[in-house]
C-alpha cells in the first residue's frame, strides 16, 4: 500500500511531452544562485492532491530588482484599479505629473453617466497637483489644499479623493488632515489614500488601501433600503470593455437587483448604500475580498465567489445566487434565462471550436483573470500549459484554505489592517444559521475561493511574477499557440511570431464576460490563433535562398 502511494507521488508528469521539472531547471539555470532559489519557489509545477491540496507557491513577495517583471505599484492598484472606475469622484493625484498622466483613461473602465441623475463623470479627466521641486523641499500640503479648492470651484463635485504618490510619504505631507480640513470647509466628502508607489510589493497593496479607505469613508453613509428583489452587490468587476454592462443585463433579465458595483460603472452613492444589499458576489477575489469581509463583519452581508467569465461559469454563478436566495421564482427565472441565452453561445462555440481545439495557451495576468479565462479556453477545447499572476497571493493560487498559513512579510507589514466590529444597530445577519448550514451541507460555499491551482492539471506550470527571461524561454521551448498577458508583453511575444491576447485591455474589444462576452471571446480567439499574418514572417527568398534554384529550369 505504502509503496503504491510512493509510486504515485513520484510518477512523472509531462507537459506538452516535456518534463516540466526539467524545463524549470533549464530556465532557472540562467539566474545567479540566490535569485534562482527565490524564483524556484515562485515557479511551481502543479499537482493536485485528492483533498484539493496543491504544492505551496511563494507569492506576494518582493520583486527581484532587474529581472523585468510585469508588476506595477500600489498607487496603480488603488487609484488606477479600484477607484479609477468610479465616475463621480474627482480623483486628485498628489504628486509629480506622471502618475496621474499614465493612469488617465488607460484602463478601459466603461461607465454610463446617465445611470445616475446628476450625470457626473470625471473619468475622462486627469487631476493632479503636478508637484514641483519647491513642494518637495517645502512640502505640498498647501498646494494640495488649494488644488482641492480649485477642483471644487471649477467642477462642483460631490466627492473628492486624494491619492498619494512616492514622494508624498517621504516628505511627510499629511494628506488625511488636509482632506479632513477641506471636507469640513467645503461640506462634501473628501478623503485621502496613502497609496505611495513603494508600499507593499505590487498593485495588491493598493487594492487593500483602497478597500480600507472606501469602507472607512463611504460605505454605510446611506441606509436607505432601495426597491428591488434579490439585492446583491457585484464586487471586483471593473467593467473593462463593458463586462459589467453585460452582467447587469443578465441580472436585469433574471430579476436580480444590483445595489452597487465595485467599481465598474459605479457611483459613490451606490458605495454609500452598498451595505444594504443581501449578498456580495465577488468576481476578482484579489482586489476586493477585503471590503466583502469587512461588510460581513460589520453589517452581516455574506459573500460568495462568482465568475462570469465563460458561459458555463456564468450559468453556474447565476444558479449559485438563486440557490442562496432559495426562492423558486428566482430559481426558475434563472433557468429560463440560461436556457434562452445558452443556445446562441453554444452555436458560436461549436462553430469556432474545430479551429481552436487542441491549441495551447499561457496566461499571465494580474490577480484574477489568469484563472477565470481558463474556463473560456476550456470551452474552446484549448489547453492551459502555464498560468500565473503578477500580484496574486497564495490564497488566489491555492485557495483560501491556506489563509491561516500565510505569513505577512516585512515588505507588506505596513499595509493597514482595519479592525472591524459588528455595527451595534445596523448589523443584520441576512441568512439564519440553520439556512446557512443547510446550504453548506448541500455543497454551497460561503466566503470561499478554491484558487487557481486546484483547477489546473498536473504538470502545468504555475508561475508568480513572471520575468521577461522566463517569458522568452517559455515561448522558445513550448511555442504556445496563444499567450495572454498585457501591453508590455504584447509586442515582445508577437515578435516571436506568437499571438498575444491582452487580458487586461482585451485589445480594445469586449465585453468578454457573460453570455454575449463569451461569444465575442470565441470569435476573437479564433481570429488570433488562425490569423494568416503568422505565415508571412519569412520572405519567399528566405524560404528558398539558393540562387542556383532559379537556374534549375535551364
Amino acid at each position: 500500500m505504502a509503496e503504491a502511494a510512493k509510486d504515485l507521488s513520484t510518477e512523472k508528469v509531462t507537459l506538452d511531452n516535456l518534463d516540466p521539472e526539467e524545463v524549470k531547471a533549464r530556465i532557472m539555470a540562467k539566474y545567479p544562485p540566490k535569485v534562482a532559489r527565490k524564483r524556484s519557489k515562485q515557479f511551481v509545477i502543479n499537482k493536485v492532491g485528492e483533498d484539493g491540496k496543491t504544492p505551496v507557491i511563494n507569492a506576494n513577495v518582493r520583486t527581484v530588482p532587474g529581472l523585468m517583471g510585469q508588476r506595477g505599484c500600489c498607487y496603480a492598484g488603488c487609484k488606477g484599479v479600484v477607484l479609477g472606475p468610479t465616475r463621480d469622484i474627482i480623483n486628485i493625484t498628489h504628486g509629480p505629473i506622471g502618475c496621474g498622466f499614465y493612469s488617465w483613461l488607460t484602463r478601459r473602465n466603461q461607465t454610463d453617466p446617465e445611470s445616475t441623475p446628476d450625470g457626473h463623470n470625471f473619468m475622462t479627466y486627469c487631476f493632479s497637483t503636478d508637484m514641483q521641486d519647491e513642494e518637495i523641499i517645502f512640502g505640498g500640503e498647501k498646494k494640495l489644499k488649494q488644488a482641492i479648492q480649485e477642483a471644487y470651484d471649477n467642477f462642483k463635485p460631490k466627492a473628492i479623493a486624494v491619492f498619494s504618490t512616492c514622494p508624498v510619504g517621504l516628505i511627510g505631507d499629511d494628506v488625511h488632515s488636509v482632506c479632513r480640513e477641506m471636507k469640513e470647509k467645503l461640506g462634501i466628502n473628501i478623503f485621502g489614500f496613502s497609496c505611495e508607489g513603494y508600499k507593499g510589493v505590487s498593485q495588491s497593496a493598493g487594492h487593500h488601501i483602497a478597500n480600507n479607505g472606501i469602507f472607512k469613508h463611504v460605505v454605510g453613509l446611506d441606509d436607505t433600503i432601495k426597491e428591488g428583489k434579490y439585492r446583491i452587490n457585484l464586487l471586483g468587476e471593473y467593467n473593462i470593455g463593458g463586462d459589467a454592462f453585460e452582467i447587469e443585463r443578465i441580472f436585469d433579465k433574471c430579476g436580480i437587483t444590483q445595489v452597487a458595483a465595485y467599481s465598474g460603472n459605479s457611483s459613490i452613492d451606490a458605495f454609500a448604500n452598498s451595505h444594504t444589499a443581501d449578498l456580495n458576489c465577488i468576481m476578482c477575489h484579489r482586489s476586493i475580498n477585503y471590503v466583502a469581509e469587512m461588510m460581513e463583519t460589520k453589517f452581516g452581508v455574506p459573500w460568495i465567489k462568482v465568475n462570469f467569465i465563460g458561459a458555463e461559469a456564468t450559468a453556474k454563478s447565476l444558479r449559485k445566487i438563486a440557490q442562496y436566495f432559495g426562492e423558486q421564482e428566482l430559481i426558475d427565472k434563472v433557468e429560463e434565462v440560461i436556457a434562452e441565452e445558452l443556445p446562441e453561445v453554444e452555436a458560436a462555440c461549436a462553430e469556432v471550436r474545430p479551429r481552436t481545439e487542441g491549441k495551447r495557451a499561457m496566461l499571465f495576468v494580474g490577480g484574477s483573470r489568469a484563472h477565470h479565462y481558463q474556463e473560456l479556453f476550456g470551452e474552446l477545447g484549448m489547453k492551459t500549459l502555464s498560468a500565473g499572476y503578477e500580484f496574486g497571493h497564495r490564497d488566489d493560487y491555492e485557495g483560501r484554505k491556506v489563509l491561516p498559513d500565510i505569513k505577512v512579510d516585512a515588505d507588506s507589514r505596513n499595509i493597514e489592517e482595519l479592525t472591524i466590529e459588528k455595527d451595534p444597530e445596523r448589523f443584520n445577519p441576512r441568512i439564519s444559521e440553520e439556512r446557512k448550514a443547510e446550504l453548506e451541507n448541500s455543497g454551497f460555499e460561503f466566503n470561499d475561493y478554491d484558487g487557481m491551482m486546484p483547477e489546473m492539471p498536473d504538470g502545468a506550470m504555475v508561475i508568480d511574477d513572471l520575468s521577461q527571461w522566463e517569458t522568452d524561454q517559455l515561448i522558445k521551448i513550448f511555442k504556445p499557440d496563444l499567450f495572454c498577458a498585457g501591453i508590455k508583453e504584447k509586442y515582445t511575444v508577437q515578435k516571436h511570431g506568437i499571438p498575444l491576447k491582452q487580458l487586461h485591455s482585451y485589445d480594445y474589444g469586449g465585453p468578454y464576460a457573460g453570455f454575449k462576452g463569451a461569444i465575442n471571446f470565441y470569435h476573437e480567439i479564433d481570429r488570433m490563433v488562425n490569423s494568416r499574418v503568422w505565415e508571412y514572417m519569412k520572405a519567399p527568398w528566405d524560404k528558398n535562398p539558393e540562387l542556383a534554384a532559379t537556374y534549375a529550369c535551364d
Binding site: V64, R71, I92, G98, I136, P167, I487, K495, H496, G497
Partner: protein, 459 residues
Amino acid sequence: MLLRHTPTEIKERKALTVNPAKTCQPIGAMYASLGIHGCLPHSHGSQGCYAYHRSALTRHFKEPVVAATSAFTEGASVFGGQANLLQSIDNIFTVYNPDVIAVHTTCLSETIGDDIPQIVAKARADGKAPAGKYIIHANTPSYVGSHVTGYSNMVKAMVDYFATSTGAKTKAVNLIPGFVEPSDMAEIQRIAEVMGVPYIMFPDTSKVLNGPLTGKYKMFPEGGTTIEDLHMTGDSKGTIALGRTGAMAAARALDSKCKVPCEILDLPIGLQGTDAFVDKLRLMAGVNVPDVLNLERGQLVDCISDWHQYLYGKRVGVVGDPDQVLALTKFLVSLDMKPVHIVSGSPAGKKYVKALEEVVADIGEEVNIKVPGDMLLFHQWIKNDPVDLIIGNTYCKYIAKDEDIPMVRHGFPIYDRMGHSYFSTMGYRGAMRLMEQILGVLMDRQDRDATDITMELVM
C-alpha cells in the same frame, strides 16, 4: 459629452493641473536610452514608474519596450536604494547581457537622494559589471520639467559618459534630434545622406521602435547609435541640435567637453524649418545641396500653392511639446493659417514664449499662449473661441469629438492611429505629409458638411 464638466468660464488655477499637456521626466530618458544600440534602460525607483513608462511607449509605438527597474520597497525608500541597484546590475548583466545599462531616476530615488555614480562604482568594485560593459546615468526628477527634460538629460548623459576627443577631427557632423519619432530620426538621416554629409546621430531609435516582424525576437534590435559612434562624437567637426528643449543641453555639453561647436535649430518641420536645417548642414559640412532636395523643396512649395485655398485663414489650436509646437506654429503661419490657441505643458522659459509670440505677431488675431499650460485651459479657450482644426496628441480627440472639430494627431502620445513611427513629418517630404493630414481632415469635413447641392467632386 466626453468632457462634460469643462467650464466655459476660465478661473485662474494655481495648484490644480487638469488634463496635462506633458508627462514626467523618466519616460523621456527611457526613450532616449532605447536610442543606444545594445542598451537596456533602467529605472531607479519603485516599479510602478517603469511599468507605466514601458506601457505608454508601447501603446504609442506598438513595439516591445524593454527596461528594468530597481523595484524599491518601503525599506529601500527609507534607507536608500543601493542594494536594489546593485542587485539589478548583477541580474541584468547575468540574465540579459546588454552592452550598456542607462540608469535614470524617479521622484522616489531623487527625493531620498541616492548617489548613482557612487552605487555604480561599488558595483564595479564588487565585480558586478563585467569588463567592457557600460553603466551610464542621468538624474531625472519627475518634479522638474517634463518628459522632454528627461530626454534631454539622458542625451546629455551620452555626451558626459561617452564623448571623447582624440584631438583628430573627423568630417562628421553630430545630429541630435529632439524628442521625435523614429521616422523623423530616419528622415533627418536621409537628408544628411543625400547631401553626402557623414554624420553621427544620437540617440537614434529608428529600427528600434519601428522594427520588423520576423519571428525572431531580439531584445536589443539592430538600430540605435553604437558606443563607438558615441565615443567619436567628440571628434566631429560640429553639432546640429534640433530643438532647444530636447537637444540643446547635449550639444552645449559636447561643445564644452570636446570643443565641438554647435548650432541650435528648431525642429525641421515645414518649409522654413527644413530650409534652416539643410542650409546649416550645407555650411557646416561644406557641401552643395543636391538636386533631390531641391526637387523635394520645390514639390512642397508646389503643394502649398496648389492647396492654399483650403488652408488660408483657417484657425488652429496647437498643443504639444515645446519644440514641436514652435516649429509647427511657424509652419502653420507659413501656410497662411492662424494658430490662435497654443499650449505646451512643459516649462520652456520666457525666451521660448517670446519666440512663439513673434511667430504669430502678424497673423491678425489675438493669440492665446500658455507655456506651461494644460489641456483643460486649451479646451476652455476653444469653447470660448472655436477653431477649425486641432493639432495635438491622442488626448485631444475628446475635445475634438465634443466640439466637433477636425483634428490631426501629432506628438506624443498617439495611442490610437498607425503611421507616426513609419512616416516622418519632418523635412520637405514630412511637411507634405503634414499637409496631407491637415487637408485630409479639413476636406473630409467640407464633404461631410456639404449639402447634396454644394458637394464638390473635384477639389
